[in-house]
Symmetry: C2
Subunit: 105 residues, 2 copies
């Protein structure tokens, strides 16, 4: 799973390439809520909300706002937490926590 | 559940009164990891890690550090997310997200 997440991160770490995945970055939560709603409106049955580090809190906000306010027939499916190793610029590595919240219709 | 969480919050919002619950506040993650480890060493089979708002990211850190580094036979049980209403000092209310991660031996 760690590899997939890494593959989906752009240089700014804000968007995901994979289908039905919304990768949470540093923008306001509503930006990502819109992305979730758009994917459901496009026919997706499941949307995964992923985040690492400090963005984890925002991921929970996004899932809660999306399901309570916009996609009221969506429910929280599985929630997974994990750890990933990031390479720093000076060659060292640091561990960062991650979360993946699956919203399902 | 919202009421229970509110009951467990001290004025500083950092400790929980209920058994086997570690409520995450603004201190460094290792403080709360120690609390989790202490509860497991005291015989607890389940420890709940709870947080609201920005502390949610730290809650995931605490769960990950505790189970990978200190209580290696613990696994992540259920993870629940939710929303709670907080009363502001000016009488308005704001919504805040919450998480509860159950670690089980």
């Amino acid at each position: 799973m760690a590899e997939n997440i890494a593959d989906n991160i752009t240089s700014k770490g804000e968007r995901a390439i994979g289908e039905n995945v919304v990768l949470i970055g540093k923008k306001p939560a509503m930006n990502y809520v819109l992305a979730v709603v758009t994917q459901f409106n496009g026919g997706a049955k499941n949307v995964k909300v992923r985040a690492r580090g400090n963005a984890i809190s925002r991921a929970v906000d996004v899932a809660e706002i999306a399901r309570h306010r916009f996609v009221t027939d969506a429910r929280v499916g599985t929630i997974e937490i994990g750890s990933e190793e990031l390479s720093n610029e000076d060659g060292t590595t640091s561990k960062v926590s991650s979360i993946e919240i699956t919203l399902s219709k």
